[in-house]
């Protein structure tokens, strides 16, 4: 096989991987070509290992990789004819279980957002104050634009946690001998003023799991808008949606374009209806993502009404695993705003012992109150 062949094969393979959602850059491909020239191309296992190492295939992608590699190996070109990979992509698309949010509704909201004349500027009361207390499910289309601007402001107000890293400060802090001495050079080694360092302010890390099932339907759009604004303030946040299965939303999010992101998600992701399997989905999360996404500084936020039809066993063990790793577990429940609600739903009751903050999320005011608790100081 010539070097040119190798390049072509690697390119085809990398494209197949990308189509299956495994991120792959040109430099990864270059590494793969370089590594293959160093290896025994007749040894199947060796080529597979070499490609895994050079293309940086994570464990969670290993199965997909092996599958595609088998295709590639079986007939040098089978994987190349992207027809094959495309059909298989469709078959295994993690999003296939989800329909789309009715496009019409989204479009209506979109146009609403652009037309500003709908704003209510009646004298004598603050529309903002009204909006803050208005339950999400009573909001009209007209309130939406206003609402989203408020959300963005709220998210920015999100306080942040202190890092262990030290940065220079003018105020109090630990003595910084390096900078003190540098200053002292000008005064013959006489230290006139000590330079100090203090702990840096750090972005909070959030992992948000949002229930998008039927019973949550009315709240989901607002909550997602809130979470997307949060993502702006806490860039390292991870966002997941779940109903009967779990979908990682983070790659689709462009924090600066909330409207566009919501539309993109609506087109591709959750048909927010049907039942929930909270336990099943949280277990899937704990299995695949917990290790790398949740650490001692992470706040895990679960947004759900806890109406689970499944067995509570997996839910309990998933919640225990999550709370063991996370700094804090926050459960937001839109139904909690209703004074008649008591957390007696079986899922909710089972999960409650592992929740640090159990709070309502039915209107803006409730979200506002939540902010200090999300920042893990």
């Amino acid at each position: 096989m010539t070097a040119v062949d190798l390049v072509a094969h690697v390119a085809v393979f990398a494209r197949a991987l990308r189509e299956r959602g495994i991120r792959m850059s040109l430099s990864d491909e270059a590494d793969a070509v370089a590594a293959l020239t160093l290896s025994d191309l007749s040894d199947r296992d060796e080529v597979r290992t070499v490609l895994r190492v050079a293309l940086k295939i994570r464990r969670r992608d290993a199965e997909t990789f092996d599958e595609l590699f088998a295709l590639l190996w079986a007939s040098g070109e089978a994987a190349g004819r992207s027809r094959d990979t495309r059909t298989s992509r469709k078959k295994d698309d993690p999003l296939k279980n989800f329909g789309g949010l009715p496009g019409a509704r989204m479009e209506a909201q979109q146009t609403e957002r652009h037309s500003r004349e709908g704003r209510s500027d009646v004298l004598g009361y603050s529309p903002e104050a009204m909006l803050r207390k208005k339950p999400f499910d009573e909001c009209s289309e007209r309130d939406l634009a206003e609402m989203e601007r408020l959300l963005a402001r709220l998210a920015l107000a999100l306080a942040t946690r202190k890092s262990r890293r030290l940065v220079p400060t003018r105020g109090r802090g630990r003595v910084d001998p390096r900078r003190s001495l540098r200053r002292a050079i000008a005064t013959d080694g006489e230290i006139l003023r000590l330079a100090r360092r203090t702990r840096a302010i750090e972005e909070p890390r959030l992992v948000v799991l949002c229930d998008t099932s039927g019973s949550m339907d009315r709240h989901v759009r607002f909550l997602l808008a809130f979470l997307l604004s949060l993502k702006k303030a806490a860039r390292r946040s991870e966002l997941f949606a779940f109903n009967t299965s779990l979908v990682r939303l983070t790659p689709w999010i462009t924090p600066t374009k909330i409207a566009a992101t919501l539309d993109r998600m609506a087109a591709g992701v959750p048909g927010w209806s049907g039942g929930t399997q909270i336990g099943h989905c949280l277990a899937a999360f704990a299995e695949r993502y917990l290790d790398e996404m949740v650490g001692p500084g992470t706040v895990v936020v679960i947004v759900s009404d806890g109406l689970d039809r499944g067995d509570t066993g997996p839910l309990v063990s998933a919640m225990r695993a999550i709370s063991a790793r996370a700094k804090r577990v926050v459960w937001l429940n839109p139904l909690l705003g209703d004074p008649r609600y008591e957390p007696t739903a079986r899922g909710m009751a089972a999960a409650l012992p592992y929740v640090d903050v159990f709070a309502p999320a039915h209107n803006l005011e409730s979200l506002e109150r939540l902010l200090p608790r999300l920042s893990a100081a």
């Binding site: 991120r23 850059s25 430099s27 990864d28 590494d31 370089a34 590594a35 160093l38 290896s39 025994d40 040894d43 296992d45 060796e46 290992t49 070499v50 895994r52 190492v53 050079a54 293309l55 940086k56 295939i57 994570r58 464990r59 290993a62 890092s163 262990r164 890293r165 030290l166 001998p177 390096r178 001495l181 002292a184 050079i185 000008a186 013959d188 080694g189 750090e202 890390r205 390292r236 290790d291 790398e292 996404m293 650490g295 001692p296 500084g297 063990s317 225990r320 695993a321 063991a324």
Partner: protein, 300 residues
């Protein structure tokens, strides 16, 4: 298989490290391509050990940087020796040296304390093995700094200028995946994921590391661990735990597993209270039974 790769595997085995082909391949690629190797895997699967064995195999010093939250350039790369600088400055001041010359004197290599990363690139007689352990614990900012270092292998110190690596070190980074490593850093590296060992590999590891363990005991231990890891655990035992346990059993003069001993020594394997509580005596009995019989254990 390439003879070079087999040679690495055999050399590692001589050092007491049972390497799977994937580990040997990754090391071979990393050393020949001159790229850092990022090693991920659960705690205790032997990530750190790889670097130690590689250093011994190459006969080069191992330089280790343990990462933690808040790790900064001054701990990782270099620091000035302030007290000595200060004394020197006072002396020069008495001699009436002007500020600029004084600065020149105290900011020289003589007053530079080399931390692991700088040590690794200033080795005189050949490349060192640089182990950057648990990179996932360091902050993002440090990761970005590493990125720069690992691509150019040069360090610029404002007071001194640029120091270029004399020999590029062999770099290994390990991560326990407590957070996702940035894409940019990942891209600079080659990547290896280490799984828990297979039954056969674990038997060989026990035999190699715990000479007192009989063939039978090693097999029973490996089989017991295989089914134990199949359970839903908060902290699955790694190879390090296996070795500890095997050693404990040998010390207790056990030649085979029995439920009572297993229960008493379970602390060698399971380091989380919940995991221990969730393994009642009856299940231990079943697991031991299965490990002794050689059949598949029930996965609870």
């Amino acid at each position: 298989m390439k003879t070079e790769i087999r040679a690495i595997a055999e050399a590692m085995e001589r050092q007491g490290y049972i390497a799977e082909p994937s580990i040997a391949t990754a090391l071979y690629l990393s050393t020949t391509m001159g790229k850092p190797l990022l090693v991920e895997g659960d705690a205790g699967v032997g990530k750190t050990e790889i670097a130690k064995v590689l250093a011994r195999h190459l006969g080069r010093p191992l330089i280790r940087l343990q990462c933690y939250e808040g790790l900064d350039v001054h701990t990782a790369l270099y620091e000035w020796d302030y007290p000595r600088q200060m004394l020197r400055l006072r002396m020069e001041g008495e001699k009436g040296l002007d500020a600029e010359s004084a600065e020149h004197v105290i900011f020289s290599r003589k007053y530079l304390l080399e931390r692991p990363l700088l040590q690794a690139i200033t080795q005189k007689d050949g490349p060192a093995v640089l182990l950057i352990d648990e990179i996932d614990r360091a902050d993002d900012g440090f990761e970005a700094f590493l990125l720069e270092l690992l691509s150019d292998f040069q360090v610029s110190i404002p007071e001194l200028g640029t120091i270029q690596a004399e020999h590029r070190p062999h770099v290994l980074l390990t991560s326990n995946r407590t957070r996702e490593i940035g894409d940019a850093l990942r891209r600079r590296c080659l990547y290896l994921f280490i799984e828990h060992p297979s039954f056969e590999k674990e038997v060989r590891i026990i035999r190699a590391r715990v000479p007192g363990a009989s063939e039978r005991l090693a097999a029973e231990i490996a089989r017991f661990l295989e089914s134990l890891r199949g359970r839903r655990l908060l902290k699955a035992p790694g190879v390090a735990e296996t070795i500890d346990w095997a050693q404990a059993l040998v010390r207790l003069h056990r030649d085979a597993l029995d439920p009572e001993t297993v229960e008493q020594t379970l602390g060698c394997l399971l380091k989380d209270r919940n995991d221990i509580v969730e393994l009642p005596a009856a299940e231990i009995g079943a697991l031991v039974e299965a490990a002794r019989g050689g059949g598949a254990a029930p996965i609870g």
